[in-house]
Symmetry: none
Subunit: 421 residues, 2 copies
């Protein structure tokens, strides 16, 4: 198994305020393609410490990957220092210089002189494209070792790793043959220990596969790994264990690997040619945001009203003042009127409404913080479903769980084709 | 300023599933007592890699602190390896052995043989008590350097650091006097290299303070550090440099340290007793979410309409069909009608409207992806302000920049008390 060493640069990573999520991402991705991470190092923007880290990396691993320090400013030192450690010289690459100049031209700004160094690379380097910023990465073989430099901003780093560096690594080290296959099954509803009970005997030590559970923003992720010499055998085992887990968890399974609830909803809505409107209260725009995070969501998302005050509930959702007075803003009745209000205003097929108490203030004995009513309304046939939830957690957790549970209600409805009481 | 190097051991930290929160905690705590962390290293449970890390730490810093690998099992190697690196021998400490035996006795279990090594320490070591587990830590001076070993479980590590190690460090290095002060200035508008140009001479190497720039989700963070013998002197220098930066960057400064735009808006709205309504299109709920992330936002946030389709713009915001046809949904005119539409429906004082093209689809030559119109409307006096932006980046970045720029428009208005064209 090839060994990798990861270096994260940036003084901010040493202050105790910023988490180094880049190295965690890279560790996971490298493991997925069968490369073993044997160590990580985090250093500030200092030439001597960056050099020490690259030296240790080159001494102990086959592959050294860094993130950060590729920007134009004086404290961006990674490229210079890595090349110095490898004993190679930087030269202007005209093509890259032109790209940089065009980038600034498009923004109608003159290119600052300091940006020029972003177009300098050593001979023989593979330049890794940056679609989201000005700093290109690079990758260079030095003897039997490979050194790759990625930018620091996580979005830029991730895309560059996936699209530019991973193919080079796979090609260079012929990794495909002996790899473990992995799958994540995402579960919403039962908690971690409930999932453990439902899986029961499957969780026991086993030579063919391993299962790990991970609680993640209200979901439980079941991480499956199958290792073996033969890829077809491994795939057969993975299918068998996945089928068994699905049988036990049924509708609680909300997706696999990179799938999210919003993505699932997109698929189902597009396939069935339906449209959705929202009426939000305690989620305060979060539900609409989760849906519109996806490009193309305008094809099935009509729009939304976030009625954060009672006056907004009456003004834009036609919730009756009497209903608010009699039952309170957090009630099944108001959730139903919110859904009906937005649906009557729109041409959408479905409405989802959410009203609840996200806290930390606003709870009572009868309706404690975490009480949330979710209503799904199918405009055709006036099919209603209301769910009352009692979530536990802080404000962020309650809002996230409310939004996910609402999406999950719609997902189950779309899958089964009807309201389940 | 004394320098520290942090080592985290444990194979699980290299798999990409577990965050190394110990080193983040230690970084923050050490900074608080005036010790500068110059690097961190994470290694698996392997003698050779642990040794490499201690060697690099001893070479580059005054203090080396590790966490993890103090347990009784075969893969707990930190103490043996650290002592080997320092060239000191481990011996049984009778007192500690007795404590361990008592620990097992209280639990009515025989002490496994392998636990014996937890009672072994080199001569001259200060033994650090573990109130929450069986693994004691230790601290040893070797020449001018100090090496401290802490256990891996975060609860045990934190308590041992605070109660046992921190007093030793303070005593050993007379730290209180020599503490660094830090401040982050957050900037929205100019990019990283523009900020660098605006700061110009301030960025040059300087003995009194240091400046680092960090691009963060559309913002640029200016990280200031002032180090010095005298706390009052340091504070005076910090004030001077902060004033100078404010003078140069003016209204582009949106906050300090943990302040966010949403928090600033909350402060200003509460102070001025005003309320806000939103009309979102391309931000799709994100703006409302950012505002309602804060508890208590219902005091100044009336509600919002997310009109993701043209039909929603006419139905809930009364945007005229002719305006949509003549100017298109992404236009100054529609932004103005959206703001007016929500404000007429509400009792709010201000409305913010955002319409734009977040991409990746939907751009044209005239209105490319990233074109965004933001309108601020003050209901009293019908004061309008419209901003046309051309953001660069992917969908997430354009949405985040749109929302932040809208909040910033309101912030500037509230600060200055009027519309600036």
């Amino acid at each position: 198994m090839k060994k990798a060493y990861i270096i994260s640069t940036g003084t901010e990573l040493l202050l105790g305020t910023t988490m180094d999520s880049n190295s965690v991402y890279l560790s996971e991705k490298l493991r997925d393609i069968g490369i073993k991470v044997i160590g990580k190092s985090t250093v500030g923007d200092s030439r001597i410490h960056i050099k020490n880290a690259f030296e240790l990396g080159l001494k102990s691993a086959d592959i050294v990957i860094s993130s950060g320090g590729l920007g134009p400013t004086l404290d961006d030192l990674t490229k210079e220092t890595a090349c110095e450690t490898m004993g190679v010289k930087l030269e202007i690459v005209e093509d890259e210089l032109r790209k940089l100049e065009e980038f600034f031209k498009r923004r109608k700004r003159a290119m600052p002189k300091i940006n020029k160094k972003q177009a300098m690379f050593p001979q023989g380097a593979i330049i890794l494209k940056n679609h989201l910023g000005t700093a290109p990465g690079m990758c260079l073989k030095t003897g039997e070792k490979l050194v790759a430099l990625l930018p620091g901003p996580p979005r830029e780093m991730k895309r560059m790793y996936l699209e530019e560096l991973e193919p080079v690594l796979k090609n260079e080290f012929e990794l495909e043959k002996n790899k473990a296959i992995m799958k994540t099954i995402k579960v919403l509803g039962p908690g971690e220990s409930q999932v453990e009970e439902m899986l029961g005997d499957l969780m026991e030590d086993n030579r063919q596969y391993s299962i790990a559970l991970l609680a993640q923003e209200g979901e439980v992720h079941i991480k499956l790994t199958v290792e073996g010499q033969d890829f077809n055998d491994s795939q057969a085992i993975m299918k068998q264990i996945t089928d068994e887990i699905e049988k036990r968890l049924q509708h609680n399974v909300i997706g696999y690997d990179d799938e999210t609830l919003a993505l699932k909803i997109a698929e189902l809505m597009l396939k069935q040619g339906k449209t959705l409107a929202l009426a939000e209260s305690c989620t305060g725009g979060l539900l609409a945001k989760m849906i519109t995070d996806l490009p193309g969501s305008s094809q099935y998302f009509w729009g939304s009203a976030t009625s954060y005050s009672n006056s907004a509930k009456t003004a834009i959702l036609n919730v009756k003042t009497e209903t608010l007075e009699e039952y309170g803003a957090v009630s099944e009745e108001v959730a139903r009127e919110m859904a009906a209000g937005i649906l009557n205003n729109s041409a959408a097929d479905f409405a989802l409404a959410v009203t609840g108490i996200a806290g930390p203030e606003g709870g009572s004995e009868e309706k404690p913080v975490g009480t949330v009513f979710i209503c799904l309304l199918n405009g055709h046939g006036q099919d209603y479903q209301v769910k009352k939830m009692s979530f536990v957690g802080d404000r962020d957790a309650i809002r996230a769980l409310s939004a996910k549970t609402a999406l999950d209600l719609l997902r189950r409805y779309l899958i089964s084709g009807g309201v389940h009481k």
